[in-house]
């Protein structure tokens, strides 16, 4: 009985402290794994760009140390869109808006820095805005036109 309690206790300690001891990948079977805070894409995670007096549609996107964009989707109508990217964390990023006739990018954005990309898009469609440094780790947002 006592041994069983010890065994269960040991397993519980292993699972509870999986992340603390064994890093983000966690203990056996992924116990204690460090999971992403946000669901990858949710409906609420999209905003509409706001059209200014000059006709340019603007939206601000925050870049996080979790290697995500908030919001991950910006909706706009065909025309000129200006996206402002604010690095809310400490990790550097460089955001490019691809497939919009070339790939204009913000250049390097250190923690706290902000950068702006202006594109003119006429064809409706989905235009990804990846972080050039972290795209393969899933740091890709989408500009939806139309």
């Amino acid at each position: 009985m006592r041994l069983r309690l010890v065994a269960i206790g040991a397993a519980a300690v292993l699972s509870l402290s999986g992340c603390a001891i064994f890093g983000p990948e966690g203990g056996p079977g992924g116990a204690g794994m460090k999971k992403p805070a946000l669901a990858p894409t949710t409906a609420e995670d999209a905003v509409d760009a706001v059209r200014g007096a000059d006709g340019v549609q603007r939206a601000t996107v925050t870049l996080t140390d979790g290697l995500r964009f908030t919001p991950s989707t910006v909706r706009a109508q065909p025309g000129t869109v200006e996206l402002t990217f604010v690095n809310g964390g400490a990790t550097p990023h460089d955001v490019a808006v691809s497939d919009a006739g070339g790939t204009p990018d913000t250049g390097n954005l250190n923690g706290g820095a902000r950068g702006t990309v202006r594109v003119t898009v006429t064809a409706p469609g989905r235009y990804p805005y990846p972080c050039l440094y972290h795209a393969s780790s899933g740091m890709v947002g989408t500009l939806v036109i139309g």
Binding site: L3, A7, A10, L14, G29, P36, D94, S136
Partner: protein
């Protein structure tokens, strides 16, 4: 208080201080310890002799070697030149952000202001030689949290992403591409048991007569095993000899302390100085708390930074840890024996001191005759003065990470009982061992059960805990913007039923609509594991969804029927051209409507096709049907391994990955397709019979020449592993092309087909014997692409005109379907086509 005790106390204090200061950082290479992430380089092309690229240190870094006489440039994240390796040495571009970001594994740096990749390169020399290594953040997972798919199912294999690094060499643009995968590791239960066994061995040794020699042997074994483990890490570390030696020692000198203290302790113990058990205990504590703990994940992760085979590396971790913990826990046992011996010796003065402790050590040093004389003092004393509450507990560990317990648990009670009842020492050892094994089994079982709640009800009496119901309860979401069954589920199901239907003569548009509506509703229920109600034939009653997917497509012949104009047929849906060597059977080809049904259970799959047939009654009739199979879930040790076809060849090594940057464009119909097909795909189905008798009569080297890959490993014939990029220009020692001019992989290579790519997701079939007694078996080839004219058609034209494999296969049936996008809830499949 003796000098020795004070010394040991100081040493222990230092160790604990070190414990607090040094987090578990002992054994990593390039900042990466054991991990389930796997970075693979799958291609570097076109090949340039003298330029090689390697993934090193578990995916932490890339290593480029350039032995040509010209500069080779690696491009950074914004396509700018980042590093230059050439005859003058190695340079980095101070105007490339990569120069700063690539300094460490997680890119947690600040890029200096003014660094702009668009500015001209500002080269700075960083070294000589022809080898450059860098942390390329395109090839590994950068976030500190796990990918969502991995977090949802950590014990499953996942494709995380694909990566491309562009290299300029001699005026040519080389493209290195590869994948990042999540490969779950093994169940660590047995390794925990091995570690526990080592603990018990040491504890048992401490209870034997003359324990010093046994404990010394155990300590020496621990040091040697830990050395082997560390050398394994040093061997895989890239860099100079001092860097490699540094990797063997570890970043915080823990390893060095373990070997010095443990080695000294072992030497003294082997000479009979039982006092040295203190030293080996400290060494054991270090292994148990720092080095062993940080290496522990190697037991349950698929790869670890080590040149040793994975299981040998796991064995070194488990056994070194077990011996270390055993040596630590053995100390109180040894001390207890002295206390016991002293209590039984009336001549001894009061108080536990060094002099008393030394007495039995002297005994150990003497020859056999003296041992006999001193034997009575070694027997357990009936004197209860040394009750179980005294001193640290010698409780057998239930887990490798456990330190000394202040609680007097089972083992002292057992020992006490043994003493009181006059049971022999040998029996006591057995009892302790038995109790320990019970605890370990309990711990291992608890750990393995914690993996999944579904495992518990299936635990059977034989002790295996295979999560059987897991297979049945898996659901692949039906509703969505893409139809399931194309890229989902990631892991292809084990059974398939392919079928094509023809509309009955004069079927109306309304009839087609209600058929599609009915199929959509039925598919939504069946794929969720729900029965169809009164109309259900109960064939799948009691079965779960078993990852069922139902994928529906439209054939070329549908256009011109049910009120759909022939001119509305998209260009991509033009009937496939005839290929040389085709032996197509029209009765088993084509069709107005196609369905691809797949599940991990054959009955679930067949039940679904029967249900669709019932719904179609009166509107469409079954034209042909075929069943296929793939690898069953849980059947392979490596769930992520490439499937093998019935010829025994790995098939699908170079399949595009769902995370390729251009995957979407190559597999799914984009803006250039008709509205109703946007987000959909085209599937080509070919029934390819294999002339297995002819093939199997061929010697293996001849078979390998036909394919261009080794049969066993799947490696290209010029060497390497399955994922080694194919070098079509490589030549063997005989000067001939390593991959023959007519080899299958040469003709099928994307490089030879204007980059044509398709996602192959086929199933094997075996339908008994043909009239000539030859097996009617082969491959139900399924290929998905955005445009057959840029996918299957050009590749097949090339293959049909010279593939050495053509002699061993026959294309017997063929079909092409345009597969519309998925149905979101409230809509039905193909609604955009039939309700424009």
């Amino acid at each position: 208080m003796s000098v020795l005790r004070v010394g040991v106390a100081v040493l222990l204090g230092a160790v604990f201080a070190l414990l607090g200061a040094a987090p578990a950082a002992a054994h990593t290479v390039g900042g990466v310890g054991a991990t389930n992430f796997r970075t693979t380089l799958s291609a570097l092309g076109p090949a340039v002799s003298g330029v090689t690229l390697k993934v090193i240190e578990n995916g932490s870094r890339l290593e480029m070697t350039n032995t040509t006489g010209a500069d080779v440039t690696v491009r950074g994240y914004a396509d700018e030149p980042y590093a230059k390796i050439g005859p003058d040495g190695i340079f980095v571009n101070d105007n490339s952000p990569a120069t700063y970001l690539n300094a460490n594994r997680f890119g947690s740096v600040k890029v200096p202001a003014g660094v702009n990749p668009e500015n001209p390169a500002k080269w700075r020399k960083v070294g000589d030689g022809s080898v450059f290594r860098w942390h390329d953040h395109r090839i590994h997972w950068m976030a500190k949290t796990m990918p969502a798919a991995v977090a949802a199912a950590p014990t499953e294999h996942h494709q995380i992403s694909t990566w491309t690094v562009v290299i300029d060499a001699g005026g040519r643009e080389l493209s290195a591409s590869g994948t990042l995968e999540w490969v779950p590791g093994p169940d660590p239960g047995w390794w925990f048991l091995a570690a526990g066994g080592a603990v018990l061995l040491v504890l048992g040794a401490a209870l034997l007569p003359r324990p010093a020699r046994w404990l010394g042997t155990a300590a020496a074994a621990m040091v040697v095993i830990d050395l082997v483990h560390s050398v394994g890490i040093g061997l895989i570390t890239a860099g100079t000899v001092p860097e490699r030696i540094g990797a063997v020692i570890g970043s915080d000198f823990t390893q060095l302390l373990i070997w010095l203290i443990g080695g000294l302790g072992a030497a003294l113990l082997l000479r009979g100085h039982l006092r040295a058990a203190w030293l080996t205990a400290v060494s054991g504590l270090l292994i148990g708390s720092i080095s062993g703990l940080s290496d522990l994940p190697a037991l349950w992760r698929s790869s670890a930074p080590s040149a040793l085979p994975a299981d040998l590396n796991r064995a070194t971790v488990a056994v070194a840890l077990g011996l270390g913990v055993g040596l630590l826990l053995a100390l109180p046992l040894v001390l207890r024996r002295y206390a016991t011996a002293r209590a039984g010796n009336s001549v001894a003065p009061t108080g536990v001191g060094v002099a008393e402790v030394d007495q039995p050590v002297t005994t150990e040093e003497t020859d056999a005759a003296v041992t006999v004389a001193s034997a009575p003092t070694e027997e357990p004393s009936p004197e209860p003065a040394t009750g179980p509450a005294e001193g640290p507990s010698p409780e057998p560990a239930t887990g490798p990470a456990e330190g000394p317990s202040p609680e007097p648990a089972a083992a002292p009670v057992v020992a006490g009982a043994a003493v009181a009842g006059g049971i022999s020492r040998r029996s006591a050892v057995g009892l302790v061992a038995a109790a320990g094994v019970g605890g370990l089994v309990g711990a291992a079982a608890t750990i393995s059960l914690r993996d999944g709640s579904s495992a518990a009800p299936n635990t059977n009496t034989t002790g295996t805990a295979v999560p059987l119901s897991d297979l049945g309860t898996r659901i692949v979401p039906f509703h969505g913007t893409r139809q399931a069954g194309i890229v989902t589920p990631t892991r292809q199901q084990a059974h398939a039923v392919l079928a094509a239907f023809d509309l009955v003569e004069g079927a109306s548009r309304d009839a087609l609509r209600s058929l599609l509506r009915g199929w959509t509703a039925a598919a939504a229920r069946l794929t969720a594991g729900l029965p169809l109600g009164a109309d259900d034939n109960t064939a799948a009653l009691g079965l779960g969804a078993a990852s069922l997917t139902v994928t529906v497509g439209f054939g070329p012949s549908l256009f011109g029927k049910a009120g759909l104009a022939g001119t509305d047929r998209p260009a991509g849906l033009a009937p496939l051209p005839a290929f040389p060597g085709d032996e197509l059977d029209p009765a088993r080809s084509d069709g107005d409507l196609g369905v691809i049904i797949a599940a991990d259970d054959p009955t679930v799959a067949y039940h679904a096709v029967r249900a669709l047939q019932g719904i179609a009654k009166g509107t469409a009739t079954l034209r042909w049907q075929a069943t296929g199979f793939a690898r069953a879930r849980g059947a392979a040790g490596d769930e992520g391994a490439t499937l093998r076809n019935l010829m025994g060849q790995v098939d699908g090594t170079n399949n595009p990955k769902s995370t390729d940057p251009d995957f979407e464009r190559r597999i799914f119909v984009g803006e250039d397709g008709p509205d109703w097909l946007r987000g959909g795909s085209y599937v080509v189905i070919r029934r390819i019979r294999m002339l297995l008798d002819d093939w199997d009569a061929l010697a293996v080297p001849a078979q390998e020449k036909v394919i261009g890959r080794r049969k066993d490993t799947g490696a290209p014939l010029h060497g390497g592993t399955e994922v080694t990029p194919v070098d079509l220009s490589a030549r063997g020692t005989d000067g001939k092309l390593a991959v023959a001019p007519d080899a299958h992989i040469r003709l099928a290579a994307a490089a030879n087909n204007a980059g044509a790519a398709m996602l192959r997701r086929g199933f094997s079939y075996a339908d008994g014997l043909r009239p000539d007694r030859a097996p009617d078996a082969g491959l139900l080839f399924l290929a998905w692409q955005a445009d057959p004219g840029r996918g299957f058609v050009p590749v097949q034209q090339r293959l049909a005109n010279g593939d050495a494999l053509s002699r061993f296969i026959r294309h017997e049936a063929s079909a092409l379907f345009a597969v519309p996008p998925g149905a979101v809830e409230g809509r039905y499949l193909g609604q955009e086509l039939v309700e424009p």
